[in-house]
Symmetry: C2
Subunit: 213 residues, 2 copies
C-alpha cells in the first residue's frame, strides 16, 4: 500500500493512528475527542476526516493497526528463538511481564480498553477488537499446542482455550492495576498466570524464569 523504504516522514494518517493508541488508552474512547487526537498527532481536523470517514472508522483502523504493531513486537522478541515449545510458552508469559513498565497507559492493551466501551454500540469496532485479541491468542495457542503434543498429549485442556485464558488473565491484570493505580498489581496477576500455565505440564521439571532484556 505504501513504500516503507527510505523513511519518507510520517504521514498524518500514521501520526493519527499512533496518537489514537496513546490517547485512547489514557482517556478512554468516548472520552477522547477528535480534536484531542488531532492535537496529539499535530495535525488538523481536515487531515483527520481526509483519512478517516468518522471517529468510529479511525477506531477500527487503529485496532487493526494495533494488531500489526503488537504482532511485530512479539515476533521480534527473544523468547521466539527458543526451540522448545514450552520454553516459548513460558517465555511469552515472562515477556508479558517484562512489557509492564512505565505508566499504565503505556503498557495496557488498546483493544481491551476499546472493546469495553464499544462492544455494544459499534459492531465493526467490536469485530476489529475480536480479531486482535483472538488472533493473538491463536498465536500463543500454536506454541501451547506444540508443547501439549510434546509433553502431555492426553491432557484434558485445549490449547485454544488456554490461549484465550492467557489473554483474559492479562486483560484482567491491567484492570486491577488501573484500579489500584499500581503496575505491580498486574505483575502479581501475571505471576499467577505463569504458575497456572506451568502447572498444565505436570510432567515437566520447570526451569527458572527467563530474564527478559
Amino acid at each position: 500500500m505504501k513504500k516503507s523504504a527510505s523513511i519518507p516522514k510520517p504521514s498524518a494518517k500514521d501520526k493519527l493512528l499512533n496518537a489514537a493508541l496513546r490517547v485512547v488508552r489514557t482517556k478512554g474512547y468516548s472520552g477522547t475527542t477528535v480534536d484531542d487526537l488531532c492535537a496529539a498527532a499535530g495535525v488538523t481536523k481536515g487531515a483527520f476526516f481526509h483519512h478517516f470517514e468518522s471517529k468510529d472508522a479511525l477506531a477500527v483502523a487503529a485496532a487493526d493497526y494495533w494488531s500489526t504493531v503488537t504482532a511485530s513486537v512479539f515476533a521480534g522478541a527473544d523468547y521466539r528463538k527458543l526451540s522448545d515449545p514450552l520454553d516459548r510458552v513460558l517465555g511469552y508469559v515472562d515477556f508479558r511481564k517484562a512489557l509492564v513498565r512505565g505508566q499504565l497507559p503505556e503498557f495496557t492493551c488498546f483493544v481491551g480498553t476499546l472493546v469495553q466501551e464499544a462492544f455494544d454500540s459499534n459492531a465493526e469496532i467490536r469485530a476489529a477488537c475480536e480479531r486482535s485479541i483472538f488472533g493473538h491468542a491463536a498465536e500463543v495457542a500454536k506454541d501451547l499446542a506444540e508443547a501439549k503434543k510434546k509433553y502431555c498429549p492426553r491432557a484434558d485442556w485445549s490449547a485454544e482455550s488456554v490461549g484465550v485464558f492467557t489473554q483474559a488473565a492479562i486483560q484482567g491484570a491491567f484492570i486491577v492495576a488501573k484500579a489500584k493505580d499500581d503496575p505491580r498489581a498486574a505483575l502479581e496477576c501475571i505471576e499467577h498466570l505463569r504458575r497456572y500455565v506451568a502447572g498444565l505440564f505436570p510432567s515437566v521439571n520447570h526451569r527458572r524464569e527467563v530474564k527478559q532484556s
Copy 2:
C-alpha cells in the same frame, strides 16, 4: 444512611443509581450522558443534580452502591453455607460462573467497566473502584486463607494475591466475552480459573463442581 424497611417506593436517587449500573455497563461511562441516566431512571435533570453534585459524583456513589449490592448477593449465596473453606472458595468460583447469564451488560462488572475509563481522569472514581474490587477480593481471600491454613499452610502463595487474581481473571473473562460477543468465552475462562485455584491445593482430592441454583 437510609432506612430500608417497609419498601417506601424507590426514590429518584435509588432509581438513578440502579439506572447507572445498567446504562454504564451497556454504553460505557463517557458514552453515557446525564440525560441517558435520567431517561432510564424516569426522572428529570433537576432530580439528578438535586441528589448528585455532578456526573462524576454519581459515578462515585454508584461504585459504592455496586459494592453494597454485590456484597449482599454473595453474602446470600448458598456456597456461603458450606463449612469447609476450600468448598467455599471453589463454590465461589462456581457461583461466579452461575452468574454469567443473559446479556453481557447484565452480568459484567460495573466498577471494572468504570475504572477502565476513569482511572486517569478522576482519582475519586478510581478510588471507589479500588475499594469495590479489592474489598471483594479480600472477602474471597478470607476463605482462601482459611483453606490454606487447613490444607497447605506452607504453600508459597498468599491468599490476598490469589484473591486479587480471581478478580483479575473474572474481569478479563468479561473482556474476552465482550470481544467475542459471546458469554461462553467468559465461562471457559472462569473454568481455567477454577482449575488454577483447585491446583493450589494439590493435597486435596477435588470434589466435583457444585451445581448452583
